[in-house]
Symmetry: C2
Subunit: 219 residues, 2 copies
DNA sequence: CTCCGTTCGTTGAAAATTCAACATACATTT
DNA sequence: AAATGTATGTTGAATTTTCAACGAACGGAG
């Protein structure tokens, strides 16, 4: 577990908590370490929602597959980020989404009940963690709002441009790399892959952007 | 302010807090009461996001209007619910959405900074409120996920049926009343109003549902 | 009662998406 | 070097949505 301390102490979940307190806290919280191979499932839709996941290395996606087999990519999880914390904190019975490793992953699982219920050893930290969790959860809400704003555009072009301009804003640069290939981007934007490719070509011809694979530049 | 105590003590924000403590707390939190007429704006897009709103009476909607004038209804706010808490808690600069009164409203505004920063008088309550806020924020995230799941369907019929079956599930009944007229439902589902009306007619002819105005029944 | 404004349903044409199929490019393996 | 597999781009037909316009139903105001 100690190998991930450099990740943990940078995580907003442990903001305001000293590194020397990490080890007893993790024990108190019943933290479990898990490894997942690229492509494997970290959480599956329908599982009980009790664990908060903290991605220590690798990358993952929040997905949903409907009964027709259509995949939706709800969001991406980068190293150092939490996932599934909303479901665990809200006390829902079962996960409405799946979490899939897009790279080999190392994950720390925290039982949400151990965070939200005070314990005898490290109570002082619990309050800080709950506050940290509040801030993280609120920021995740914003990301959901942002995705909703993107998806709410009616056309492929509208969705694509909304996504790309948001990426450019967040990276503070007109050049950026997106974390998706074409199929994944289509699954994130809720559009047809071939139509998305066609729209990218059109935007390229119109001189609005250039791209190579996942590297984009807005002109 | 006292006239709203019956609402306040039922609000999840004040769960675990005694009614006799409400009055000093509201003072400590710098609560402000506001009245809004039906159709007026409670918060406008671009305003600084410092206040958490608590709707004491009436009803409101979370909306966004894009540069073309297209309205998106992100969610509805019912009496007793919080709104804008994610934006305030996440510490974003400006609101990315507007809140509009769909009925005459009474609202209590709470400065988020006064909740998340401990104060000298009622510190014991602050921790409870932060925990309550965490739970509320997480539950709001779930609602955003639910809307995303609805919007993610590609066709008008798919979106409509996803919405209606969710409503039926939440009301635990095949008969229910939705909080939207046709235009508002279209703005929530991100579809064309006339196309939505046509789809409802078709579903009616197919014997899948019956409806009168906003009263629906799934068969 | 009539007028008026709003909501809702209907329709047909225009526009956009989806779908299926195939071509191309590139990297990896044998 | 050839074969294979994956990702991406292209195309045309089918489907669906959007858009604009209009008519019917309804309720409130005068």
């Amino acid at each position: 577990m100690e190998q991930y301390f450099s990740i943990l102490k940078q995580s907003p979940l442990f903001a305001g908590i000293e590194e020397r307190d990490l080890s007893p806290m993790l024990g108190c919280l019943g933290a479990k370490e898990r490894q997942y191979k690229k492509g494997s499932s970290i959480f599956s839709e329908g599982e009980p929602a009790v664990y908060i996941g903290l991605l220590c290395s690798g990358a993952a996606q929040i997905e949903r597959i409907d009964y027709n087999g259509n995949r939706t990519i709800v969001s991406v999880v980068d190293s150092g980020e939490l996932f599934a914390e909303s479901f665990a904190c809200a006390g829902v019975e079962r996960l409405p989404i799946s979490v899939t490793a897009t790279e080999d992953c190392a994950v720390i699982l925290l039982d949400c009940r151990r965070i939200t219920q005070a314990c005898c050893n490290a109570c002082a930290f619990h309050q800080q963690m709950i506050y940290n969790l509040l801030k993280i959860t609120a920021q995740k809400s914003i990301r959901l709002h942002q995705r909703a704003e993107i998806i709410s555009h009616r056309t492929t072009r509208g969705k694509l441009m909304a996504y790309l301009t948001l990426q450019a804003t967040q990276k503070s640069s007109t050049k950026f790399t997106i974390p998706f290939d074409r199929q994944e981007l289509a699954d994130y934007l809720e559009v047809d892959r071939s139509g998305l490719s066609a729209e990218i070509s059109k935007l390229r011809k119109e001189g609005i952007l250039t791209c190579r694979k996942s590297d984009f530049e807005l002109l």
